[in-house]
Amino acid sequence: MYNVIQLIVKYGAHLLFVVLQVICFSLIINYNKAQKDIFVNSSNVFAGKVADQQTKIVQFANLKSQNDSLMRENANLIENIIKIEYSSDNIPASDSLLNQYRLIPSNIINSTINLSNNHFTLNKGSRHGIQPDMGVIASHKGLLGVVRNVSENFAHVISLLHSQTKISCAVKGRKGHGTLMWKNMDPLRMNLESIPKHEFIAVGDTVITSGYSTMFPKGLLVGKVEKFVIPPGSNSYSITVKLFNDLTNAQYAYVIQNIFGSEQLLLEKEVGNE
């Protein structure tokens, strides 16, 4: 108690100054409209800034789950695009046909890009419905590869940039189809072979999947025709395709689950055995 009194005696004037100023400013803020507005607004701005920063941090922490939900949404949208592609056929499609393809969103967790045979790994596996020989795409605009092996939680995918890649493709709006292959070690370009040379194509045409396999539905965009030549003595074009997507920085992938794929393969096998 004595100490407190001593303190007040020693610093009384300063204390009094602070107290009087606090009184003055509370009076100013409470009884003067202009000053009150400024005070309230500034504190609002300050509070707003704090809340803004907080939201940013929380949003950053939520990025992963948001990404997942966006990917799920994307998967639904791409499924719809595929449905539209098929529903424009002349034959009216049944509901089961419309739902033939399902997409499984996943992340690429490991990948090689500069070997002559490239692979990558997805963080989803048989537990999520992935089976070998399913197609993998980056989006509606860009293929990634084909699943080779699956474990319970992971899938091993042959990249497009692989010497064994063979994907049936067509040129949009033109007749005929060919095989997409990777020959020139350029991660942005691939080759489309065996489109017969009596068909007409032009530089800038869009290359799409043909749908003549169980892996990819038809109509997925692959790339653009960059240039084409007819090798001497050949019956078909050799087309260089500039891919729409850059496989070197792919992070997300959708695995295409073809619900009737195994049925189709079984039927084709039976015919082949005869």
Partner: protein
Amino acid sequence: MNKTISTNVIRAIILFLAQIVVFKQITFSLGGMAFIHFLIYPMVILLMPIKTPRPVLLLTAFTFGLGLDMFYDSIGIHAAALVFTAYFRNLVIAFIEPVEGYNMNDVPTIKNMGLGWFVTYTSILLLFHIFVYFSIEAFSFVYIFEIFLNSIFSFIISFIVIIILQFLIRTKY
């Protein structure tokens, strides 16, 4: 001692009346940019005896400022500025102390301290007071340019008036 108190109380009342009756009514506008106010009431604090204890200065400033605010419709603004001035008065007095020091009963007037000392003393504290007053009135340094403009012009006018009053009215205490 009693004379000192009564002189100061009477001076405070006269200055109070002069400020609200006369000087409050005179406001010049300079091209719509700066508004010149006559703020001569800080003399109440400036002219109190040099050895006045700080709490007395502060409480006087607070009551005087609040009284003024009631007539200016700006509760707290003059009081806050005047309390600031009262608080820093002793610092300024210590800062510009003459070589021979102060006497116990010195009153800071031209007659006692000389013109040079008085001009330094008044200009520092008056400018400080006016700047603080306009800053609190604007309440935001967004208006820093207007605050400076108002402060400088109001300071010049108020300073001239205070010096003239010093020559006209000479008090002993």
